[in-house]
Amino acid sequence: VCAWHPCPSTETALGSSDNLEHRRKDRQVRLAAFGINSILYQRGIYPPETFTRVTHYDLSLLLTTDPKLKSYLTNVVSQLKEWLFECTVQKLVLVITCLETNEVLERWQFDIECDKSAKESSAPREKSIKTIQHEIRSVIRQITATVTFLPLLETPCAFDLLVYTDKDLVVPDKWEESGPQTIDQPEEVRLHSFTTSIHKVNSMVAYKKTESA
């Protein structure tokens, strides 16, 4: 799966696809993948020994080694890339549910505002590695920082990725419609938003209030 190989070679390999748009989308999508991996690691959904350190963009990042999880993430990420390119994605949500009670405990929501006009008029603004690093670092730092105030997940949990798309989209083969899976009376925290060349991503995390709090 080429998305996980170290960066410089893939940068050039994808450059051969000859479209800066694709490269940008890849970067954004990879950013999303790093974010998801770090959330899974920080919240302890998968045991920490299943994560390995991988170097991307001269940064040491945590990625999972679980093959089932990897294949799932690649499926989602590839589809997400397509949709990002068409600018039909509105939100990307990571939902953490408790297996015993089937309640939603946490909800990480990334609102994507796509500037559709910029799609055609792509002025090639090359991003330096520093800006990419800065973006990744900021995302991962925010995720790590939120762990300090999020309540502990004591019961066995599983996660799910939801994508909010336009209504008139054709639903692909393996995807199905699901509910928004909201939390009842959540505590909401807005995180730092960051912009890429055509997207502006607002992120927030909502979690279920614990009874003691």
Binding site: K68, L99, D160, L169, K174, W175, E176
Partner: protein, 720 residues
């Protein structure tokens, strides 16, 4: 008989009556005859009458008797009947009695038979009794034999007692041997003590050795430490050498230090100067800025000054331009006030004029309305007149036509009248008449139609003309209004303006309110968006079908089901184990092969159980054996020694002799704390006072006492 009797009665009665009647006749006949013969005849008659009466009376009696006889016979018959019945009854009774008799006889026979049987049995039992008694006698004989045997056994017991005495002697010998052995034991113990002392010495040596070894090891450790220290020291040596070399450099360094310090001080001073200078520079800069600001302000001020001077000039020139003799602003203000006053006056005039104009216009409009009404009325009247003229003309025409027709008809008639003479004219006339009439009718109808069309056309034209005129009037009025409207515009616009202004304010207020609502709703929407709500019309939420949560839920369900199955399986296992403990191996084998794991523990369990059972059996057997042996020994003791020894309570022994006279005669011995036996007081022992004194107090031997007691009791028994 009766009938005969009756007939005789009748005949007698008849004869009597006939007799009576004859005599009557004769009586009458004979009345006249002689009287004496009357008396005789009367007497005869009376005698005959009497006889007849007696006869009748006797017949009556005879009849009565007959009747009684008959009655008697009847009663006889009845009695006989009854007697016969009674006889039959009694015969029946007799028969019953006979039967009963026979039954009773039968029973008696049976009872007699039973009695015979019972007697037989009795005799048999008596015979059996005799036999039993014979047996008893036999048994008694055997008992006596046994008693004899017992006596012989007692003799043997006595012999055994002698043996016991011998055994006791042996025991004493063995005691002496034992004492000798204890002595040996002591010697051996002393040896052991020696050995132990040696052992202690050896152990002490060992300890000393170990101490020495430990000290050795300590020394070795110390040596190692010293070696390490040596090494360190060598290292230190090397370091010292290098340090020395460095130390050589020290004076140079000191010189440099001095230089650097001087530089430092110089630099610090210069820094302070620098800072001072910087402050000055900053101050100067600020001054510069302020100066520049002031310059700008100056420039602005000068510009303003010029403007103001120009204005002043203009104001000053105003007077010259307007030609109003203005030299000071007070004059200007005065002029202005005057102008304002004039304006006010003019406005008042204006208002009054406007009001007048309005009123005039109102009147004008009213007049115009009246005018239009009048016009319309005149038009209507004109139309009416025209219609009536038309009517008149039509009527005149009609009249002319009618006259012409009449003339024509007259002419025709005259012509026909003139033609009448020569010819017959009636059918032709009538024909022509009819034709003429038809033509007339047609023309009349045609006329009427034409007239109707005409009137319609005229009416239409009249209405059209009316409309035209009214439209023209309206147009004229509108034109006039327009002309007047421009004059009154200034008045109306102000009112409209205020109305419009109010509308604008209302709309603005509404707009603000709607804006606020909009903001609130947008905030709510944002909040919902934050929470994850979405507009189902525009967006869709998608996720992969095989997502980790679904997979985890499935796995969890499978786990739960597997756990449930395991639980049920384990429960069955436990139940089988609990029930299978009592059951043997074979049954376990018949269970499912899934219980193969359970076989092993159950086998162990069964082995253990078998062992347990076998050990319990062994225990039981041992117990039985011990009991038997104990019982044997006790009986043997009793037989040999003549005393039954029972343990009543702890350390108390009750001895009952074989030859005891009463069941309660017993001796009580208590075992003291030092092991010696003491005799306790009992009723029996009170009777043995002498022997107690002799054997226990004097001789201090319990066996002698016991044997003396047995001999005494034996002698008593045998003598008794």
């Amino acid at each position: 008989m009766d009938l005969e009797d009756d007939t005789t009665i009748l005949t007698t009665l008849k004869s009597f009556n006939s007799f009576i009647s004859r005599p009557e006749h004769p009586q009458r006949l004979s009345e006249h005859s002689a009287g004496s013969g009357i008396l005789q005849s009367q007497y005869k008659r009376s005698m005959e009458l009497l006889e007849a009466a007696e006869r009748v009376h006797s017949k009556n009696r005879y009849l009565q008797l007959d009747q009684e006889k008959k009655q008697m016979e009847l009663s006889h018959k009845r009695a006989r009947f009854e007697l016969e019945r009674a006889a039959s009854d009694s015969a029946r009774d007799l028969e019953h009695e006979v039967d009963r008799n026979q039954e009773l006889l039968g029973q008696i026979k049976k009872l007699e038979e039973r009695a015979e049987e019972v007697n037989k049995k009795l005799t048999e039992q008596k015979e059996a009794n005799d036999a039993l008694q014979k047996n008893l006698e036999g048994l008694n004989k055997t008992l006596e034999e046994r008693d004899d045997k017992l006596g012989t056994a007692n003799q043997t017991i006595r012999s055994l007692k002698d043996e016991i005495r011998e055994l006791r002697q042996k025991i004493q010998n063995q005691d002496s041997k034992m004492s000798a052995q204890t002595l040996e034991n002591q010697e051996l113990q002393e040896k052991i003590d020696l050995q132990q002392r040696k052992y202690q010495e050896v152990s002490q040596l060992c300890q000393s050795l170990q101490a020495a070894q430990s000290s050795c090891s300590d020394h070795i450790i110390k040596i190692k430490e010293l070696e390490r220290r040596l090494v360190f020291q060598e290292q230190d040596f090397a370091i010292v050498k290098t340090v020395k070399s460095e130390v050589a450099r020290v004076p140079d360094l000191e010189k440099e230090l001095k230089r650097l310090r001087d530089d430092n001080a110089y630099l610090r001073e210069s820094r302070e100067n620098c800072s001072l200078l910087k402050e000055e520079v900053e101050g100067l800069r600020k001054k510069l800025e302020r100066m520049e600001k002031t310059k700008e302000e100056l420039i602005n001020m000068e510009l303003e000054k010029e403007r103001l001077t120009e204005k002043l000039h203009a104001w000053e020139n105003l007077g010259q331009s307007t030609g109003l003799n203005i030299r000071k602003p007070e004059d200007l203000s005065r002029e202005v006030i005057q102008i304002q006053q004039r304006e006010i006056a003019l406005k008042e005039q204006n208002y009054t004029l406007n009001s007048r104009v309005r009123s005039v216009e109102r009147s004008q409009s009213e007049l115009r309305a009246e005018l239009t009404q009048q016009h319309s009325k005149t038009l209507e009247e004109q139309k009416k007149r025209e219609a009536q003229d038309a009517l008149v003309r039509r009527l005149q025409k009609r009249v002319l036509l009618l006259t012409k027709e009449r003339d024509g008809m007259r002419a025709i008639l005259e012509s026909y009248d003139s033609e009448l003479a020569p010819t017959e004219y009636s059918p032709q006339l009538s024909k022509r008449l009819r034709e003429a009439e038809d033509i007339l009718l047609k023309t009349q109808s045609h006329n009427a139609e034409m007239e109707a069309q005409l009137t319609k056309a005229q009416e239409e034209t009249g209405t059209l003309k009316l409309q035209l005129q009214t439209a023209e009037l309206e147009l004229e009025s509108l034109k006039k209004q327009q002309a007047s409207a421009t004059d009154s515009n200034s008045l109306l616009t102000k009112e409209e303006v205020t109305i419009l202004r109010q509308k604008i304010e209302d709309l603005e207020r509404e707009r603000q309110r709607l804006e606020e609502q909009n903001n609130i709703l947008e905030m709510r929407l944002e909040r919902h968006n934050l929470q994850g709500d979405y507009d189902p019309v525009k967006t869709r939420v998608l996720h992969l079908k095989m997502n980790p949560t679904a997979i985890a839920k499935q796995e969890r369900q499978q786990e739960v089901e597997a756990l449930r199955q395991e639980v049920t399986r384990l429960r069955d296992l436990v139940r089988s184990l609990q029930s299978g403990g009592a059951v043997g191996h074979s049954q376990d084998d018949t269970h499912n092969p899934s219980f193969s794991l359970s076989l092993a523990p159950s086998k162990e369990v069964l082995d253990l159980r078998k062992q347990m059972e076998s050990s319990e059996l062994r225990n039981q057997r041992l117990k039985e054996v011990f009991q038997r042996k104990i019982q044997e020994f006790r009986t043997v003791c009793y037989v040999l020694t003549g005393y039954q020894i029972d343990i009543t309570t702890e350390n108390q022994y009750r001895l009952t002799s074989v030859y005891a006279e009463h069941m309660d005669d017993s001796l009580l011995f208590k075992k003291g704390s030092n092991g010696s036996m003491q005799l306790m007081e009992t009723e029996f022992s009170k009777t043995l006072g002498e022997m107690v004194a002799l054997h226990l107090h004097h001789q201090k031997s319990i066996p002698a006492f016991l044997s003396a007691v047995t001999l005494d009791l034996f002698s008593r028994q045998t003598t008794v």
